[in-house]
Subunit: 514 residues, 2 copies
């Protein structure tokens, strides 16, 4: 046993490393060839079924090779990602060739080649948009553009944003004036101040709907299982960061607020979407969810009351989703930021006693406190919350203490008045849309009406959004909530009644001119 022996072994390793590189290189050459054929046959580069096949094969074989499946899973993810990258590059080269040929010798091109060209134009230039107006794709783009228009003197009715116009509870006003003199401006525990976590535990206890179920779980929310976050979004960000690794997958039910997809994408996690539709009253098909579950799936994401549709799932549906998640040992992330705006009975995920469920919520919508950036996450599994706390401590120490105290005091107020007002506004919009070329389902909750533009109008969401902006009304394009919803717009009800009425008038007039 000596260092010489180590050197000898290291040389052997070097040879093997070379062989591995050689094989990877061969593998990439094969990927290129497959990519070429796919281009000619006009097939998508990413083939989910084939990918899953490779992953399953590798995971099944890990044991034969005495390798850790988690490790080989990462290796195969790397290989697949690189193969897709290479295939994309080759496809672009090919398309440029075809384009050049088209320019040089138009009329003399095989049908197949043209087909490739047309289909992949969008791939090559996915920043291209309809119309020549501003680059608008999401409600935030609309908001920013509307702000620019306002800065130039145009008056805009804002029906695009999800920011309630109510004042925060008056308790918050008093607390703000009290912060300085009471010295509430120090570092806090990463999980949040004890006072707020205790009050949140009482607040969450009111989310239990049935006392009869109290045998399964004792209808008690331990303050230690709560983390205070800078907004609901950060709750999602740290949940994903702590539970997911590159190559993992999540399931999102569309239409959906894009944050889950964006956070997943940032972490190298794939989002599989289940599409719900207007005809089925935005009820997701449970078979569709089951179909998307595979060895890589880690989290099913729920967001009810839903942004943008306002849908609330029934207790029965939720129960079935919990069973699905449980069967495959998946986490359930339930984003319940709109729970205060429920116009029919709403069931929080905490009612199902599922250990791998994570509830994410915030003060933003319920108490009209968006700018305070206070949210929270809860799980019955303390280990999950501890992981979230560790990442939060690492990333930003703690949430601003003054904001935590304001949130704590807000819990003394009753947000029901906000719910009642919002419900009236939703009814107002629905009534207004009745006589217009839109189809919609009356929302169960939230602060939006997600309306489909009548086919007869032959106008896309982006085009309509532009026209409406021209006429002084900002709404959100449906495509921002999923690629299948480009014939929808989301009308938000975060402005006062009179403005909503005027906004509806403008929508009517604008449609009349189309």
């Amino acid at each position: 046993m000596s260092l010489d022996e180590v050197d000898k072994l290291r040389n052997e390793m070097k040879q093997i490393t070379n062989q591995i590189l050689g094989l990877i290189s061969q593998r990439m050459e094969l990927a290129k060839k497959i990519g070429e054929i796919k281009t000619i046959l006009d097939l998508d580069i990413v083939d989910d079924k084939a990918e899953l096949g490779v992953k399953s094969h590798v995971l099944d074989n890990s044991k034969n090779f005495s390798l850790d499946p988690e490790f080989t899973g990462r290796v195969v993810n790397l290989l697949i990602t690189e193969a897709v990258r290479i295939q994309n590059i080759e496809r672009m080269k090919k398309l440029n060739q075809v384009n050049n040929n088209l320019n040089n010798t138009s009329g003399n091109i095989k049908k197949n080649s043209i087909k490739v060209d047309v289909k992949n134009k969008t791939y090559l230039d996915n920043s291209s948009l309809e119309g020549k107006g501003p680059k608008i794709r999401s409600h935030l783009d609309v908001f920013n553009f509307a702000k620019t228009l306002e800065a130039n003197g145009k008056s805009i009715i804002h029906m695009e944003v999800g920011e309630p116009d109510f004042p925060p509870p008056v308790e918050v006003r008093n607390e703000l004036s009290n912060i300085y003199d009471s010295g509430k401006f120090h570092y806090t525990q990463a999980a949040g101040i004890a006072e707020l976590r205790e009050r949140l535990s009482k607040y969450l206890t009111t989310f239990f709907t049935e006392k009869t179920e109290s045998k399964k779980h004792d209808n008690f929310v331990n303050p230690k299982n709560i983390i205070v976050t800078p907004g609901g979004r950060f709750g999602i960000f740290i949940t994903f960061s702590s539970l997911l690794r590159p190559g993992d997958e999540i399931i999102v039910i569309e239409p959906a607020w894009p944050a889950c997809h964006d956070c997943a994408n940032y972490l190298g996690v794939k989002t599989r979407t289940v599409k719900s539709n207007l005809e089925n009253g935005w009820e997701p098909d449970l078979n569709d969810i089951e179909d998307q579950i595979n060895i890589n799936t880690k989290i099913i994401c729920l967001n009810y009351p839903n942004n943008p549709t306002g849908k609330i799932l029934s207790k029965e549906t939720l129960k079935k989703i919990v069973v699905l998640a449980s069967k495959s040992n998946l986490y359930l992330l339930s984003d319940e930021v709109y729970s205060n705006y429920a116009y029919r009975p709403f069931e929080s995920i905490i009612n199902f006693g599922y250990e791998k469920a994570i509830l994410v919520s915030s003060f933003s919508k319920t108490f009209a406190m968006t700018g305070f950036r206070v949210g929270f996450a809860y799980s019955a599994d303390k280990n999950i919350i501890n992981k979230l706390i560790n990442i939060q401590a690492l990333a930003l120490t703690s949430v601003a203490e003054p904001m935590q105290y304001c949130a704590s005091l807000a819990l003394n107020s009753d947000p029901q008045i906000n719910r009642r007002i919002m419900k009236e506004r939703i009814e107002l919009v629905c009534n207004g849309l009745k006589n217009l070329p839109f189809e919609y389902v009356v929302p169960d909750g939230a602060m939006y009406v997600f309306a489909r533009i009548n086919k007869e109008l032959k106008i896309s969401d982006l085009k309509l959004v532009e026209s409406l902006l021209d006429n002084g009304v900002a709404v959100a394009p449906g495509s921002g909530f999923g690629s299948s919803y480009s014939n929808f717009i989301r009308i938000s009800t975060c402005i006062e009644t009179q403005k909503i009425k005027t906004g509806l008038e403008v929508i009517k007039e604008t449609l009349g001119k189309i």
Copy 2:
């Protein structure tokens, strides 16, 4: 060209994938053997030189194999990480064997085996601590334990935390009372409100020390190149998140606040440390920095005035570090949160006109606003700041608007009074330590004295911290700032003069009893 052909190619790929797995398995077997020899020879498992050798070899060979070096870099990182993991597991098995042997047949063990055992005890149980007291390793552990003692009625003098005891500027008090009525509680731009960014741009302009250098850069800080973050820590977190990938490396000069190392570790990034020492007045050796730079190095991290030593680098030294960074095209992260507490001329990184420099700072220390969680980052390269803004938008939308306005108003105040007070306290501690068995360099800045415990005392930092806690004084152990500093304590000066005097008395008495 048909789908059959695709299937055929996919089968070939499958074979190759199998071969790759087989080779990886062989490689891991070799790694195990090397690990066994290392265990017997009592060598560390991680061998930086060998690792670098493998990485260079692979990167050099990427082109021969027509593979992308970034991709092969990730593959080799995965292989190395897994090899280290496997070697660690094998070592633990081996040690458990040896331990069992020791228990069963004491006296009959080869010297080598015992050596392995002793050395690796700390590896196996790195949560073990000297003494039987609380599990204390960092200043935060001390703080938390001290809080528990206080809750039990013990009175504690806090010289462990880095939280100034000054009140925030009175301007902040007024602004807090104004927030609610002026409606400053909405979502803001992800980069921060325009007012604060503009004021910060003026504030940062005062960091330029020489007008004569204005030819190189026009001594102007564009507000668009500033991002407002929830504290300096989040500035570091998003800088690392956007600029680093697993397998990359950063260089940190120790002793150091542990955040950079922790964030790097979380991202799978390796930290190489350069150790500065008391004898050289905490001046880092530039050759040591240069020695640590390799193909994987991406960022050199600076933190001056330094926590814990208070060291400020001269303009000449900083210039040389900038040249070093520039030569290898590295980013320079300069954490300048203590810049207000400089008791000799301090040079901000912005004076060197280096495009790849990122300045991170905050309101926490300068304006005694820790709990407001407002910091900021600046780079002359707008692309870097844009990356930070994108991650911030993704992770938490924006910093709490009320906190941003408070920070903006704080800029109207003059933090010099804080500096003068802190300087007097630093002098008070230094004078007090003169007659005690400590060695130290009078700090150039910051809010701490980093003092070496005299060898004669034969006591470690943890042991001393415990004894002092028993006697009602909390200080931070040196080992929290780097493994080489376990014979140091950090005494912070964030409490009033009278308490400092009492604290010093207690330290004196405690030492008298050792």
